[in-house]
Symmetry: D2
Subunit: 336 residues, 4 copies
């Protein structure tokens, strides 16, 4: 049965895997100090216009979030995040396992607002509660939505006002960058203290590229990588994947294709009179369907039922990727 | 400059990488629940004669050690290990970061003895000290040596007597299995509570196969995987690597080649009158050389200077692998 | 300025402190193994009818909660609690520092309901989220309310159904036991897996008596005490305090006096037409007052402004204790 | 049976306990912000000539060590200590539970030397091992010995060279200060980054006074106190104990008496031809006795058998305190 469950069902783009094969036998330095990783980092620094960033390649999103956040916070410091955040509901308490409370605000279509930060600050004023210190958002969000440049600027401004760090989870940053949203790759270095560029959900068999902008957060990061078991002995594995993704625009081409497929689906749902739970221009869409219709679609396709709207209707999540078969998209549209 | 520094300088065996390319576009279940991982697990269960083992694929050795040990121990429980163990000196305090003290004994050529366990037990008898609960050894050891079947049986016996768990780090288990040592793959399920089969150091771009034998340690392990960021979204990556390694004996062939190269070197050192620091039949050898000689070799080859013997002599470590170029071995021998 | 801020402003009841002086010079075993602590435990076991309970004396409530919860949960296991719980908002993230997420439900007058537990269970079904394992409530609650016997039975039933532990924070258990609520001391051993009897907030200079009922949770607890720095070298300090509190009913007499004072205040507020935020029969009351009135009272008394109701009205918290001066109560009533 | 096991068998000096009784009913601010704690801190700052120190009162030594060390170190940072240190062998892995490895050096009569620090530094140079960051010593040591001023200066110098923190556990600092050693109270503020003054082992029912000298380590410490359950609601308890101890020289008088008793014993052992395991001028002495003699003494006195010397002889530990009965000292001497 064809799956629209997620964007990590297929192992990786052919070009990415072919380039791995090409270095099969080559002697390279271990632990991420190899020349291929260095080349991949240069490519990313150029494209994102951040010559001074420190870049580290990790295996997956949960790992990247937990290692970075743990490297930044002392044990009395806490994270502020939307209640829908990946770190809150999809990482098995990894942040708490490392000792940090997550202070949550009710999400607005997946987003966190500056006013949420202010409200949490007002309640955390002495040692009977933890100290908020890092604000976490995702671009695009868990609900497919995208922060505008102004929204990110306002969040960063609020963070700076309180001496907080601002960190952007970019597991699906590619799909956000190829919408007509106004945030460009070159903006990130002025919009946050750190962010990561997701490979796993955009054509790589594994790998996220953590980009640390804030000079104060760079020191000792390799110690944290090692301590958390996140430093691959063969760093050229992730290095090569990212090198391929950022040569010849492959990363953006793949994201563009994923969005194109999901938006084709979205349009079809709308044309058929269905409402969307959020206004997502990216590769995850959330149509609201009658439960009967959902059951019907489940006979042909795999996807997540996201949440209940009322006794008769629910939200589903459909995800497209670089590997989505357009024929299957068309077939799904046909059965709507 | 050619390197004998380690066994993870080359990305992976061609067959392993080619098989990744073959599944590039195939839709597979995420998080290690895919069919290819299932097939890899079946192969391993058959070869190691452990139909009831739970197998999980992780990315690297440090990660495997920390996730497994953390899944097994409560916060007052401690590990017993040789002072030369990987967890003591090469994992950046990962075990302690997760809350567990490591109680060390002076290694004997890299080994831990039952009497070491007994001595530590005698000193840990009440709540002013931690409770030892898990015994950690490596096969082969950090010094290239190999435990005999009897030695492992005695260690396991001692563990059972004290209700301890016995865990074997098999980062280089392949090289141990293809010596003329008497421990066979089918022995492991009766020799320990858990062990892992190293992929990274034997031809795979990444991956270790943790095998949990003891029924009591199986529950909830996937939660620990997830919580530590050790669950790859695309589990077919490691699954496919292990499937290839355990089809057609590739795993053992690669280990045999690595040992053959290192033993060729070892013989040459011995023939030239050099002593060895340990009696290693595996792919890591530790010749003792005059410092002058070491400096000379360093002009042509990369390797680790392991430790000082006296003012004029030191131990070096030379490591061979599945990818070692025999011409370079011969050239090194020629300059001895 | 007289304070109604809390029930721990005065060091301790004269009889408690006098009895400390009496043992000033007596040689006693260390670390809680002394004869006086043993006598105190016997008294408590008799009064609460729990001959098989394990009792440990700790210094304070935060410490008791964190040590007990950490002794019970593995790192993937989580706590379920009302959002108003002491562990959520008044313990500086101690539970999370020890690695455990707290899953919260909106409180109902300070209480958690069985349906809250069920709702959280329904959302925590696989390894992408933590495993709930312990349910935490307080008797009396942070809002002064008291669970009935039936309510506690239903919560415990729900816990047992899911194989969860049920733990009751009794920082103010005394004030709950002397209301006309139907939960009696002898009920606790059948109502939960563990609870603690608060000394600090009822006449003792320090000390909470943790009572572990569930046999499976008793082992190794002294290790956790020691590891968290919670094992006093001179355990006779807390032992003697509890011995005095539970001789001649002092504990209950002090709680009864505290309630009497607060209910005298509550009645006066009601008689003056003020509403109460919660229906509290215990020593903490929460009148809703016009902000003007609050400012007026603040000229004469210290107390907490609890939360805003609307632009003109707020809830305040007034707390009475064993040491409250009835003259001050009467004077406060006079200025209402 | 009379005990020479330790210096915490008696609850507390009469004057200390009497002063607690005097404030039984007084309303005081909670959580250590009371006027009596403030007065106690002033006394200590004056006597130790450290007007800018931050002082916090904690309950016991293990708690003080773990809270302070955890407040100072990030999770990749480690402690350097002698293998005989209290944190290594008597605190149930508390430092490791909080995530920090302890790097040990073989003690020299209980002491750590600058060369030990250098040797550990030489081995910890990259991310495969933890980063040493704090050096821990005790004054007096676990073996009763005392660092000279020069020795402490050299240790501090070595720490500053490596940007390490230097922390002195002063559980028995009183007994060190009243020997003819050249370290005076006024020296500490220039000899370390932080130290603590032990109350529990010198006449107080509980309490240690942590003194933070280094400005950079002061911030947020109250958060750590709270998070570890180490902040007493009734801080006046420890505050009053320390106020009494540092009024009228009581603290030093008590320590002097303890030393006098132990040295009387030591002299008697020496006069009877017994050797001492360490040269201790303080209240713990370590005679080496034939096992026969030890058994004989055990019929009349409680004490620790410290360690085996050979098949026929062992070291015992005898501890005197402010409360030691001189008649018992004389009786013990009589049976030598």
């Amino acid at each position: 049965m064809y799956s629209f469950k997620d964007d990590y069902s297929e192992l990786g783009h052919e070009r990415v895997l072919t380039n791995l094969l090409k270095i099969s036998n080559k002697q390279l330095d271990g632990y991420g100090m190899d020349i291929i990783s260095a080349q991949a980092k240069e490519l990313i620094k150029n494209i994102f216009c951040m010559p001074n960033a420190d870049i580290h390649f990790l295996s997956g999103g949960t790992q990247t979030n937990l290692v970075f956040i743990n490297s930044v916070l002392s044990s009395i410091e806490a994270v502020i995040a939307a209640d829908s955040s990946h770190i809150c509901v999809s990482e098995c308490g990894a942040i708490e396992h490392n000792g940090h409370k997550i202070l949550t605000a009710l999400n607005k279509s997946g987003k966190l607002l500056p006013s949420d930060i202010e409200a949490i600050c007002a309640e955390h004023i002495n040692e009977h509660r933890v100290k908020p210190k890092l604000v976490f958002v995702s671009q695009s969000t868990e609900l497919g939505t995208v922060y505008t440049k102004k929204e990110l600027e306002n969040l960063f401004e609020t963070c700076k006002k309180h001496c907080f760090y601002f960190y952007i989870d970019g597991a699906r940053i590619g799909t956000a960058l190829v919408t007509d949203n106004d945030v460009k790759p070159e903006d990130f270095s002025a919009l946050c203290d750190a962010f990561y560029i997701g490979g796993t959900k955009n054509g790589s068999p594994l790998g996220e590229a953590l980009c640390i902008i804030n000079q104060n957060l760079k020191n000792d990061f390799r110690y944290y990588l090692k301590q958390h078991g996140a430093m691959l002995a063969k760093g050229s594995l992730t290095g090569s994947c990212f090198k391929t993704l950022f040569e010849d625009n492959l990363y953006f081409d793949l994201a563009r294709y994923a969005n194109k497929m999901s938006q084709k689906l979205a349009k079809a749902f709308t044309n058929n009179g269905y409402k969307m739970f959020t206004n997502s221009p990216t590769n995850q869409i959330f149509p609201i369907l009658p439960n009967k219709k959902i059951e019907e679609l489940q006979k042909f396709y795999k996807f997540h039922v996201w949440e209940k709207i009322d006794d008769n209707n629910s939200v589903i999540r459909l995800v497209c990727s670089w590997a989505t078969d357009e024929n299957e998209v068309d077939r799904l549209i046909a059965v709507l």
